[in-house]
């Protein structure tokens, strides 16, 4: 699932021997964080790693993390591509709600809710509308030059209203075996949602890393003007990533609504955009664009899901997850910030006669803050 990492447009890390080289690897810190969290859970509950087979299905905490994390993995997948172009997509949470609402409304009003054609057309409707949402976002960003955060804010605000309009403000329940399969079903002993997310991640990795597409996206994110000048059709690429992001969010919306067999326009996918951004940032993709790591994003999404599971295991009120997430965001962003690193290294060698230029800058700025 992990794509080759050193194909990014940015500079490669210098090859270093041994352990140094391992810690320099882009996925090292996210993977270490995930491993620490998982091991911490083993200390709390001894059978945490136990996976048992029951009725031909795999059960266990690890499988739960994968299954409940699948929608977040998908939303984060689309978000990674958007962020790689130096954008952001705030409308994914609303898209999750709209997709779930559309599909459930379609199935609930159909004559035979359980039949495959009904479910397929429900899925097609949801994905089609999501693609239209992505087109609108892409149009605003690529054609009108609106800042991405602002362009997608429109649908973030209006989208949830639209979702409630579709469900008429109610929670629509559906009983459809075929639809239940997407988020709650099993296939080849594994949850279907996990397989679906895995396939989509693999396809995206292949398409972006085995073709030039990934490099083109990174080039647009790195320097949009230069990429246009060298003949990259930046506008088309931008529209494409927003469409992909919306469609991924829609699949996540189908999963979530299918898992609980109902659509809630108000709460489905609430704040998932923030979790997704968090997952992308944890995964090592910088918000300034130009370089992305799908493997990192998947790890990031799993870290967030494991964090939530841990909070539940600890018996702390689940709402306090937000505090932990906030701390994770702050730590990760500080770790990624060159200014912070410069300051740290500045501290470490206080007697150094000639601090690095970056460290000197940070010192100057500090004086400016507290004159």
């Amino acid at each position: 699932m992990t794509p080759p990492d050193d194909t990014g447009a940015g500079g490669r890390p210098a090859r270093m021997p041994g352990a140094r080289r391992l810690t320099e690897h882009r996925l090292f810190w996210p993977a270490a964080a995930l491993a620490t969290l998982l091991l911490g859970n083993v200390a709390l509950t001894h059978d945490f790693f136990a996976v048992r087979v029951q009725n031909g299905h795999l059960y266990g905490s690890l499988i739960d993390i994968l299954q409940f994390g699948a929608p977040l993995v998908l939303v984060s997948l689309g978000m990674t591509l958007v962020i790689a172009t130096r954008g952001i997509d705030l409308s994914v949470g609303s898209t999750v709600a709209i997709a779930g609402a559309l599909a459930c409304e379609h199935i609930a009003t159909a004559e035979d809710p359980g039949s495959l054609p009904t479910v397929l057309s429900a899925i097609a409707t949801a994905l089609g509308v999501a693609a239209a949402i992505g087109l609108l976002n892409g149009f605003l960003v690529a054609r009108l030059g609106v800042q991405p955060i602002v362009a997608t804010l429109v649908l973030m605000v209006a989208g949830r209203g639209v979702a409630q309009l579709i469900t008429d403000g109610q929670i629509i329940s559906v009983s459809s075996g075929a639809y239940k399969m997407i988020g709650g079903g099993y296939w080849l002993t594994l949850p279907f949602a996990v397989l679906l997310a895995g396939v989509l991640v693999a396809v995206t990795s292949l398409v972006t890393r085995r073709t030039a597409l990934g490099m083109l996206i990174e080039s647009v994110g790195g320097n949009p003007v230069a990429s246009r000048l060298v003949g990259i059709r930046a506008a088309g690429l931008l529209v494409m990533v927003y469409v992909v992001s919306s469609v991924c969010a829609a699949v996540a919306g189908l999963m979530i609504s299918s898992n609980v067999s109902s659509a809630d326009g108000n709460n489905a996918g609430l704040w998932i955009e923030l979790d997704a951004i968090l997952a992308v940032v944890i995964g090592g993709t910088a918000l300034t664009g130009g370089r992305f790591s799908l493997g990192g994003t998947v790890l990031g999404a799993l870290i967030i899901q494991t964090l939530s599971t841990t909070i539940y295991t600890l018996g702390v009120p689940p709402e306090t997850t937000l505090v932990f997430k906030a701390l994770v965001v702050i730590v990760v962003c500080l770790a990624q910030s060159p200014a912070f690193r410069a300051r740290l290294s500045h501290r470490r060698r206080p007697a150094g006669p000639d601090p690095a230029p970056a460290a000197g800058d940070a010192g100057a700025r500090r004086q400016e803050v507290h004159p």
Partner: protein, 335 residues
Amino acid sequence: MSTPLSSLTGPLQRFSVRHATRLPLMVTATLLIAMFSIGSLQYEGFFSAQVLLNVLIDNGFLLVVAIGMTFVILTGGIDLSVGSMVALSTMLTAWLVEQNGVPLALAVPLVLLVGAGGGALMGWVIHAFEIQPFIVTLAGMFLARGLCYMISTESISITDPTTTTIAQTRVLLPGGLFVSPAVVIALVVLALAFGVLHHTRFGRTVYALGGNESSARLMGLPVGRTKVAVYAVSGLCSALGGLLLTFYMLSGYALHAVGMELDAIAAAVIGGTLLTGGSGFVLGTALGVTVLGLIQTVISFQGTLSSWWTRIVIGGLLFVFILLQRLFGGPRADH
């Protein structure tokens, strides 16, 4: 990708030289008059000054929060933490006053201090470590909302006599009209913000910073101090907005003001503040809040329209105003 738009806006661009920054404001004012006129023709009892004052009474806290947001947006930043900060200050006030017997006179400055301090801290992280405002205030949003839940997951209702007395006070105006003390406070904050933004050195630095940060730095303006101050102002306004909401709701609840950051941003944008920073009016923000409030009033008068229409209409308005901003002036984003 700029060609189709710039060829289209050729004549508009010339027009925009003089009117660019004021056009959205004029559109908003026209919209406000149109909404009020249509409402008055459509619904009985709509045409009264009290209906307009009620809009202020119901949205006084939003006005205060949106004023703080305007400061941040003018510098080219954004503050996503304001909704959570409002919730946190309702929660803190209720917890201090109701469950710990702290007198209101002590709780209020404490809450304001927490808001301003939190804002300043975020501003400092944004400036010192060069992290995007969006992600830092996102962390602040999580943190403040999480702290609310740590205080209590239940709503805390307030029965403290001083608080309830203030909440029920009516400020009488001539002609049998009335407003709440919150409206008076909000208008005072508005006047203060107007004075600070347009008549002080700090205000000019705020605009300069949003116009071009590196130029501002080269001119020797205190970029760092101003950034920290602007987020502190936003935090302070959120805390004050939270206090006003506490009086309005007479309760502290972790789910108060969910999504208020979006309303505050929308109010600023509809009021003509450019999201890229450097251009806007705090009085426009007040118009923006009034437009949002009037939408809710129209929907409640209509009766058959449900509350989610509010979000859809606000989203639609946001869309229109963003298009207006793109067509008339304003620096383009990178892509």
